[in-house]
Amino acid sequence: MAMERSKFLFTTVAFAALALYPFAAGSFGIDLVTKIMVYAVFALSLELLVGTTGLVCFGQAAFFGIGAYATVLLSSPTDAPSLAWLLPACVLAAAAYALFVGALTLRTKGVYFIMVTLAFAQMAYYVVHDTPLGGGTDGIYLTVKPVLGGLLDLDKPLALYGFTLGALVAVFGFLALLGRSRFGRALAGIRVNEQRMRATGFSTYPYKLAAFVISGGIAGLAGFLFAVKDGFVNPELMSWHLSGAVLIMIILGGLGHLRGALIGAFAFALLQELFKSEAIFGDFAKHWQLGLGLTIIASVALLPRGIVGVPRQWRERLVGRRIATTEVRHELAGPPPRVNFRVRSAEVPNELA
């Protein structure tokens, strides 16, 4: 059970570190880590789709943006809205759009699915960008932050940090349990071999739709947290750049593992901070994209399984033989999931007649 324990150990240590961080950090550090945790929740929502179910959605920012915009549009400009109804409302708004998009898009496969999810996200983007509904391109403000009765006022950075950490732990726990449950194993089966799942009696469409809606809801939660933190929402929250960035995070971190999404979100943000810091790079900090780009390229070359795969990659190199032959535990997803939507699959015969 070595793998299982080391995974649990890593996760508890990580969350403990996050819990202790505010005591050691300045107010900027708290803001920065709050934002990274929001992106971690967002990355976890995509991990459920891409890593677990093998559905590569390139429009996740739409649900994130809808969660954020719902937060602002539903709260009144004068008195503080209560968390008790605002949070579920935002999650439901995002999940509703996810239901609508999922119901339609899940009929397509592979790269076509990627592009049609992008299409629906761009539609949401332009609705918010071009119509006065969302305040147009300048965006709108959340003037009063939500509260929970007397005990939690999200306007205070520390309260928001705690609440975000709580949300992150809750989502991580929920997805970890879900992944091990019958529903999660069915999703993993759909990723590896949907044909076999149908042959044994699983109607795969409802499973995929359920995963899509849950993922949309969690992305909506991340959007809610983002809006509460910044108090300002802008159409760029729904742009394909953000959908791309969150996809990069979970690939960089390592697909098929919830820890991958966690690590990916932190690595992606901290790498940017690293390359942007004038303390280290002086004037060259202006060209931070070069450093980030080269690091990402290096990670593709050196870390085939993402950052989360590093320990196992080292053990294999040290032990010198395929570790999988003997004591492979029943791991959540085994080696990196072959999210290999056969662009050149058999049913798309490729003669250019």
Partner: protein
Amino acid sequence: MTLFRTTLVAAAIAGGAASPALAQTAPKLKVGLMLPATGTFAALGTAIEQGFRLYVAEQGGKLAGREIEFVKVDDESDPSKATDNVNKLIKRDNVDVLVGTVHSGVAMAMAKVAKETGTLLIVPNAGADAVTGPMCAPNIFRSSFSNWQPGYAMGEVMAKKGYKRVVTITWKYAAGDESVRGFKEAFEKGGGTVAKELSLPFPNVEFQALLTEIAAAKPDAVYTFFAGGGAVKFVKDYAAAGLKKSIPLYGAGFLTDGTLEAQGADADGLFTTLHYADSLGLPRDNAFRLAYAKSYKLQPDVYAVQGYDAAQMLATGLGAVKGDLSKKAEFAAAVEKARIDSPRGAFTISKSHNPVQDIYLRQVTGKENKLVGVASKSLADPGRGCRS
């Protein structure tokens, strides 16, 4: 050490509290420059920074006795990162003054944080009307313009020229809409009518369809708002479509500012309105242009002027409060009463902290926006929605 651990250590350095400044005489004044260093507006960010640094250098690196220390952040013109970048300057680097930025969406986020934290913010470019409208505040100033101003001035000019039917064309985003709204207000007051308001999604640059619409509508003239790459392409397409001869093209100054080299002959003769021109002939402007060319080996543009004036406004306020920025009310009062001796010509500050300035009519001749005359004298932004 795995990649992950190295980044954690680096972040700890970046995330730690800033080193306290050693105070001998008056403590250093930390100015936070939040400008775009990457993306389409990178060149504008550089020009603004150089203009600001030039004025500080001319004062010997000190304003009101306090040495100036710069802290820079690349805002990437990305609104979703704006709040964090501002917090980095305010909370981590404890800057006393925020200067930024170009993109309106990012400026809106900066204005919100500045309003909440009370930190002094000087906007050196973003023309969003809201910054000196609903979002106005005692500690928020703008050294550039509101989108409304150049539009309104051109509205007056075209009305005076006797045009009756005009078509407007711009991208469908805040800057474009606000500029067209300013234009329409003045043009209709002057007896003209806007036959059609054409727009296309931002950042599309395929103008052929709308150029054909313009030809079909046969207006007396066209008013437009584009900037950067879009401005270059629109002017070239407009000329290539043969409309330049038949339907005169007017626009806000950004259509031809910083883009003349790329537009070449297609831009010759175009009339634009802006609060700056290449041949003002004012002694202050000539001195500024000489100093700028000497320090940076290239001619200044309107963005450099706006950066330069942001520094002047800061200096004026600091002088009045003897370098003590905690006296916010006196700072604001001093700047509101001040008369900024700017290269663009002296200007005062409106109640909503936007420059009350002459908007010049310019014409493109020989790769320069030559001054033709003053389109609107001391035009003040109405600052609608500003209650403070």
